[in-house]
């Protein structure tokens, strides 16, 4: 990375879920100025937006309600939008998780069309721990990480309608997407936690910051 480059202004969407401290520190380490915010006005000024998330799909979408349109608009304008873990699942259209808990059809952001499925019985759920990344196609976020390990904690996985949305895969009983991206490339997400994935994770955060400054 060019050391004379300015820092990227990144908004880390604060909607009450997740350990934001590690994501903040990771992004800072990668060269970002981080603003914690749930105010759509801040999204417009940012070089990039990070949607973190830990917890349940329906609760996440519920909490995201007030800035849902702002995220969709930012994505349409081509602004980098990076979903992490549940934040990635929220980029899709819907999730089996909402149905499992009897909350019917909860709508995701539908920026990467598809649904989130639960891992089959017979596997320990959650899928928790370090697993290997198999990069399937080029994307700026996935530069230099093929074959590396990342830290996952999740019970559902993304199943995009378009195979082309899959940037990297991992195997846990089934082969599932570890990284997804939309067709334009500016909306993407990791099922794993880059902020907990040591050097590999920091590399991804640096890739993100670099992409924000392009």
């Amino acid at each position: 990375m060019n050391t004379t480059q300015r820092a990227a202004d990144v908004v880390l969407v604060d909607y009450g879920l997740g350990n934001l401290r590690s994501v903040t520190r990771g992004l800072e380490r990668a060269g970002a100025d981080v603003t914690l915010s749930a105010d759509p006005a801040d999204f417009d000024a940012a070089d990039g937006i990070v949607l973190p998330g830990v917890g349940a799909f329906s609760e996440g979408m519920d909490n995201a309600g007030p800035f849902r349109d702002a995220l969709v608009d930012a994505a349409a304008e081509g602004r980098p939008l990076f979903g992490i873990c549940l934040g990635m699942q929220m980029l899709l259209t819907t999730s089996e998780e909402a149905e499992t808990v009897g909350e019917g059809d909860v709508q995701g952001l539908d920026l990467v069309p598809g649904t989130n499925l639960r891992f089959d019985e017979g596997q320990k759920v959650p899928h928790m721990g370090w697993n290997e990344l198999d990069v399937r196609r080029e994307h700026p976020i996935a530069e230099g990480i093929d074959g590396n390990y990342a830290y996952f904690v999740h019970s559902y996985y993304a199943a995009p309608d378009d195979e082309g949305a899959v940037v990297a895969t991992t195997e846990y009983g089934v082969e599932f997407p570890a990284i997804v991206a939309n067709e334009a490339g500016n909306v993407f997400g990791t099922q794993f936690h880059p902020e907990k994935s040591s050097e590999t994770g920091l590399r991804i955060l640096r890739n993100f910051v670099g992409y924000c400054l392009e």
């Binding site: 380490r29 846990y172 907990k196």
Partner: protein
């Protein structure tokens, strides 16, 4: 390509005479010996390839708790791997404060045995993935257990103890593990009073009994003296992660050395 077995150094943190956080390593939950500065140790283990850290607050005092949380923050800011913090967590606000300090998971023992609803409350508020239920098991060779295992030709069950193994509860570990998982625990952390500090190996029958009866990930703990012991607990008991303290603190093995040895034995690890 597969989910790897996790190698987790455990750091027992106490407050030294100057009020600074310090790491101590014990034998049979007693006889603590000073082994270093927690942040320095965490950095060293991180560089050597540790998959996670477990921090146990053994101070059991209010001042100790503050120091502990500062230490957690200092480590979380340096090391980008998952961090579990345990010791003295009794209430939902305790969980919140620990997570806010930078922990990814909290390990709860006595607090959950005294009031099992704490597991649901924590899982609902913060997600199951951050609620680790820790048990300090003790072998009992009488007839009041629920789940029996064979140990050295004798039938025994495993009892949950509290207060660092000083008090029994008559609760069967396997039954409690099933209940805790049902209430929303995301992971089980299985310690053995019998094996702790012995360096003779993990309590494999104990770990196996839990792994065979609960579908939640299990961290085996207590008794590790060599990479061979980790291999046993992965292969013979089915543990998902193995925790060790003294072999790392006293530099008998580095994390990297342990992982390379396991890799040679065909155990999947992150190298």
């Amino acid at each position: 390509m597969t989910l790897t077995k996790r190698i987790i150094p455990c750091i027992d943190v106490d407050v030294d005479d100057d009020g600074e956080a310090a790491v101590y390593t014990g034998v049979n939950f007693e006889d603590l010996e000073y082994t270093g500065d927690p942040v320095e140790l965490a950095k060293k283990y991180n560089e050597a390839g540790a998959d996670e850290f477990v921090f146990l607050d053994i101070t059991a005092s209010a001042e100790g708790r503050e120091t502990m949380l500062d230490t957690v923050s200092a480590v979380a800011d340096e090391c980008f791997i998952p961090l579990t913090v345990g010791g003295g967590i009794r209430t939902t606000p305790d969980i919140k404060e620990t997570l806010r300090a930078g922990a990814d998971k909290v390990s709860i023992n006595t607090g959950a045995i005294e009031r099992p609803e704490l597991i649901e409350e924590g899982a609902e508020a913060f997600g199951s993935q951050c609620i680790v239920i820790s048990v300090d098991a003790r072998r009992r060779f009488d007839e009041s257990g629920e789940y029996y295992a064979e140990v050295d030709g004798e039938s025994c069950w495993f009892e949950c103890t509290v207060k660092g193994g000083r008090e029994g509860t008559d609760i069967d570990v396997v039954e409690w593990a099933r209940e805790a998982a049902g209430r929303g625990a995301g992971e089980l952390f299985v310690n053995s009073i019998d094996a702790d500090g012995t360096k003779d190996g993990y309590d494999v029958p104990l770990t196996k009994a839990v792994c065979d009866n609960v579908s939640t990930p299990v961290i085996a703990s207590s008794g590790c003296g060599s990479p061979k012991h980790m291999e046993e607990v992965f292969t013979d008991a089915g543990a998902d992660a193995a925790l060790a303290a003294s072999i790392f603190h006293f530099e008998e093995y580095s994390v990297d050395e342990v992982k390379r040895t396991l890799d040679e034995q065909g155990i999947p690890v992150r190298l």
